[in-house]
C-alpha cells in the first residue's frame, strides 16, 4: 500500500526521535557544563543493555518480561551505569580536565575498555534482551509494542528532565554552570560536582534509552559507536549545549533517517547522521540553537 510508507517514516521517526532525544540531551549537557565530548556515551548505552542481560539468571530470561526479576535487573543496571558515570568522572575525567584533548582520548579509551570488557564476559556475538511482544495496528502498519513503550517512556523522561532542569535546585545549578561557569562559581556553586552530576545524569539517560530501545533489536559489543555518532550529529545539528536544540535535532534525525531508510534503502540510512554532521559544520557550526562558539 502506497500510504503506509509515509506512516512508517512518521511513526518510527517519532519513536527513534524520542530515544535519540534522551541520548542527545545527556551528551549535550555534558558538553554544555564541562566542555566535554564524552566518547564513552555510546558505551554507557550498550553497557546498560549488557548489565540487564548479565543479571538475569536463565530462568527469568525465558520468562522474559513477565518475571519481576527482569524489572529488578533493569533498575540495578540503571544504578550501576549511573555509578560508572560518576566513577568515570572522579577517576578519569577530573584529573585531566584542563586539557580538552586528554579528556577526549581518555573517554575514547574508556569506550574501548568497556567494549572489550563486554566481549570478555559475553563473547563477540549478538545477544538480545527480552521485549514486550505483540504488535498494535496503527493507521495501516503494525508497530511492535516495545516501540510504543519506548516512545511513551522517552516522552515521559524528556518531560521529567525538562522539569528537573527548571524546577529542581540541582537542575537549576547545572543550567547555571552551563550558561556561565565563572558566574556560577562566584555564586558558590561547586562546578566540579555539578559536572559529575551531569555526567551521571547523562549516563542515566543513556541507560534508560538502552532499556527502552535495545529490546527492539540486538545487543552487540560495538553498538556504542553508532550511538555516539548519532548523539554527536544531533548536538551539532541542534546546537551544543542546548536542550531544545537536542530534542528538535533528535526528531529531525529520526525522521530523516527513517525517510532515507524507507524510500532509498536501509543501508543508506546509516549515512544520514554523518552527512548531517559534515553539512552542519560547514554551513552553521553553531547548530540551529547553539549558543557556544564551535570555532
Amino acid at each position: 500500500m502506497a500510504g503506509t510508507e509515509i506512516i512508517e517514516v512518521l511513526v518510527y521517526g517519532t519513536v527513534q526521535g524520542g530515544i535519540f532525544a534522551l541520548l542527545a540531551m545527556g551528551f549535550s549537557l555534558v558538553f554544555g557544563v564541562g566542555g566535554i565530548l564524552n566518547q564513552a556515551h555510546g558505551a554507557f548505552y550498550a553497557i546498560t543493555g549488557y548489565l540487564v542481560y548479565w543479571i538475569h539468571d536463565p530462568v527469568s530470561l525465558f520468562a522474559g518480561v513477565d518475571s519481576p526479576k527482569f524489572y529488578w535487573a533493569m533498575v540495578f543496571a540503571l544504578i550501576v551505569v549511573i555509578i560508572i558515570g560518576g566513577l568515570s568522572y572522579l577517576g578519569l575525567i577530573k584529573s585531566v580536565q584542563e586539557h580538552e584533548i586528554n579528556v577526549v582520548i581518555i573517554t575514547f579509551a574508556l569506550a574501548f575498555f568497556l567494549e572489550q570488557a563486554v566481549k570478555m564476559i559475553f563473547g563477540d556475538i549478538g545477544h538480545s534482551i527480552p521485549s514486550v511482544s505483540g504488535n498494535e495496528e496503527f493507521l495501516g502498519i503494525f508497530i511492535p509494542w516495545q516501540h510504543i513503550i519506548s516512545l511513551i517512556g522517552s516522552l515521559i523522561v524528556i518531560a521529567s528532565v525538562i522539569l528537573f532542569m527548571n524546577k529542581v535546585k540541582i537542575g537549576n545549578q547545572i543550567r547555571a554552570v552551563a550558561q556561565d561557569k565563572e558566574a556560577a562559581q562566584l555564586m558558590g556553586i561547586n562546578t566540579n560536582r555539578m559536572l559529575m552530576y551531569t555526567i551521571m545524569l547523562s549516563a542515566f539517560l543513556a541507560g534508560i534509552a538502552g532499556l527502552l530501545y535495545i529490546p527492539t533489536g540486538d545487543l552487540a559489543p560495538h553498538m556504542g559507536w553508532g550511538v555516539l555518532t548519532r548523539s554527536f550529529a544531533i548536538v551539532v545539528l541542534g546546537g551544543l549545549g542546548s536542550i531544545p536544540g537536542s530534542v528538535i535535532g533528535s526528531f529531525i534525525l529520526g525522521y530523516a533517517g527513517n525517510f532515507v531508510g524507507v524510500y532509498i534503502g536501509q543501508s543508506w540510512a546509516g549515512l544520514v547522521p554523518t552527512v548531517l554532521i559534515v553539512v552542519m559544520l560547514i554551513v552553521r557550526p553553531r547548530g540551529i540553537f547553539g549558543k557556544k562558539e564551535v570555532r
Binding site: L37, H99, A109, F113, Q116, M120, S267, W268, L271
Partner: protein, 353 residues
C-alpha cells in the same frame, strides 16, 4: 639586437653560476658529513642506528614467514602511527578517524593490483594518492574545527565509510562485506617482502622526521601551540593544515597499501574505530610529536599483541585501553620518554661527559 645580447648575458651568468654551486656543495660536504656523524654520536642517533641495524639483519636469523610477518606488521604500523603523530602530535589536528586513510589506501591498492593490473609499487602509490585526495576533501571543511570536534567528525567519517563499504551495492569491484581478496603479496619471498617493507618504513619515517624538524615542522608546531598567534604572524594556517593532512594521509596510505598486500586482502572492517585507536595507543606509549615514538609504540604494540592474543581474543585491546587510560591519566608525554631520558643520562656518563 639589444634583446639577444641581454639573453646571452643571462645564459652566460647561468653557466657561470653552476660551477660555483658545485664548488659550494662539494665544500659543504665535509660539514654535512660532520653534522651527520655528529648526529650519530648523539644518544638518539646512535640508538636509532643500532635499532635499524638490528632490524635489517632479522632475516639472517629467521626466514620463517610467520616471524618475519610480525616484524613486517610492526614496520607497517610504525608508518601508520607516525603518520598519525604527524597530524596530531606535530600539527595538533586530532584524528580519531585515521582508519579512513588506512582503509581507502587498502582498497585503492587492492583495486590497483587485482583489477587494474598494476605492479606493487604503482598500486601502493595509487592507493596513497587516493588517500591524499580524499584527505584533502575532508580537510577543507574541517579547517575550522577545534580539537575534539575534529576528532569526532573524523570518527564519524570513518564510520560512514565502514557502512558505505559494507554495502554491496556500492560497486561490484568492492564486493561489500567480503572485501577484496587474493591480493598478491608484495613478493612471494618473505625475506624480500620484509626487506622492502623495512626500507619503505625507513624512507617514510625519515621523510616525516625531516619534514618535522625542518622549518615546515616548526610552523606546524606553532599552529598546534597557538594558532591565533601563528595566524597573526602571517602564516597561512589553512594551507599548512591542509599540507599536514596530505602528508599524514599519504603515509597512512602507504601503511594501508602495505597492510593490504601483506594481508592479501582488504575488507570494510579496516574502517572500524579499532584501527583508529591503534595509532593513538602506539604514539601515547612511544611519545607524542616525535616520529620515532610512533615506531617505538608500534613495535611494542605488535609484540605485546602477539603475546596477549594467545590468552584471549579480547585481551590485547583490553590491556591496551587500560594502558592508554593510565598513560593519559598519569603522564602527558608518553611513558616511554622518561625511560629514554634515564637511558640518555647513562649514555652521557659512558661517553665521559
Amino acid at each position: 639586437m639589444v634583446k639577444s645580447h641581454i639573453v646571452k648575458k643571462s645564459i652566460d651568468d647561468f653557466w657561470k653560476r653552476i660551477p660555483k654551486k658545485i664548488k659550494l656543495s662539494v665544500k659543504s660536504l665535509p660539514t654535512a658529513l660532520n653534522g651527520f656523524m655528529g648526529k650519530l654520536r648523539t644518544f638518539k642517533g646512535g640508538l636509532t642506528l643500532i635499532c635499524l641495524i638490528i632490524l635489517s639483519i632479522v632475516p639472517i636469523f629467521t626466514k620463517n614467514p610467520f616471524y618475519l610477518g610480525i616484524f613486517m606488521m610492526a614496520c607497517i604500523y610504525s608508518i601508520y602511527a607516525s603518520s598519525w603523530d604527524f597530524m596530531t602530535g606535530y600539527t595538533g589536528l586530532v584524528s580519531f578517524g585515521h582508519a579512513i586513510f588506512l582503509g581507502l589506501a587498502g582498497y585503492g591498492t587492492s583495486v590497483g593490483l587485482v583489477f587494474l593490473g598494476f605492479n606493487w609499487l604503482i598500486a601502493l602509490l595509487f592507493g596513497s594518492i587516493i588517500s591524499v585526495v580524499i584527505g584533502v576533501l575532508i580537510a577543507i571543511p574541517s579547517l575550522r574545527l577545534k580539537g575534539p570536534y575534529l576528532a569526532l567528525t573524523l570518527l564519524s567519517i570513518s564510520m560512514i565509510l565502514w557502512s558505505l563499504f559494507l554495502m554491496g551495492e556500492l560497486s561490484p569491484w568492492l564486493r561489500g562485506s567480503q572485501g577484496i581478496s587474493q591480493v598478491p603479496l608484495l613478493s612471494p619471498n618473505p625475506v624480500i617482502e620484509y626487506i622492502t617493507t623495512f626500507i619503505i618504513m625507513v624512507l617514510s619515517l625519515g621523510i616525516m622526521k625531516m619534514l618535522g624538524s625542518a622549518k615546515f615542522g616548526k610552523i606546524l608546531n606553532s599552529i598546534r601551540d597557538d594558532d591565533t598567534g601563528a595566524e597573526a604572524s602571517g602564516i597561512n594556517i589553512s594551507k599548512y593544515k591542509i599540507l599536514a593532512f596530505m602528508i599524514s594521509a599519504f603515509f597512512a596510505g602507504i601503511a594501508g597499501g602495505l597492510f593490504a598486500m601483506h594481508n592479501r586482502g582488504v575488507d570494510p572492517g579496516r574502517f572500524q574505530p579499532l584501527y583508529s585507536f591503534y595509532p593513538i595507543i602506539m604514539v601515547a606509549v612511544g611519545g607524542l610529536a616525535t616520529i620515532s615514538g610512533g615506531a617505538l609504540g608500534a613495535f611494542i604494540f605488535v609484540f605485546l599483541n602477539e603475546i596477549l592474543i594467545e590468552l584471549a581474543p579480547w585481551a590485547p585491546l583490553f590491556v591496551f585501553s587500560i594502558i592508554l587510560i593510565l598513560i593519559i591519566r598519569f603522564s602527558e608525554r608518553g611513558i616511554m620518554r622518561p625511560a629514554i631520558e634515564r637511558l640518555k643520562e647513562l649514555w652521557d656518563v659512558l661517553l665521559g661527559k
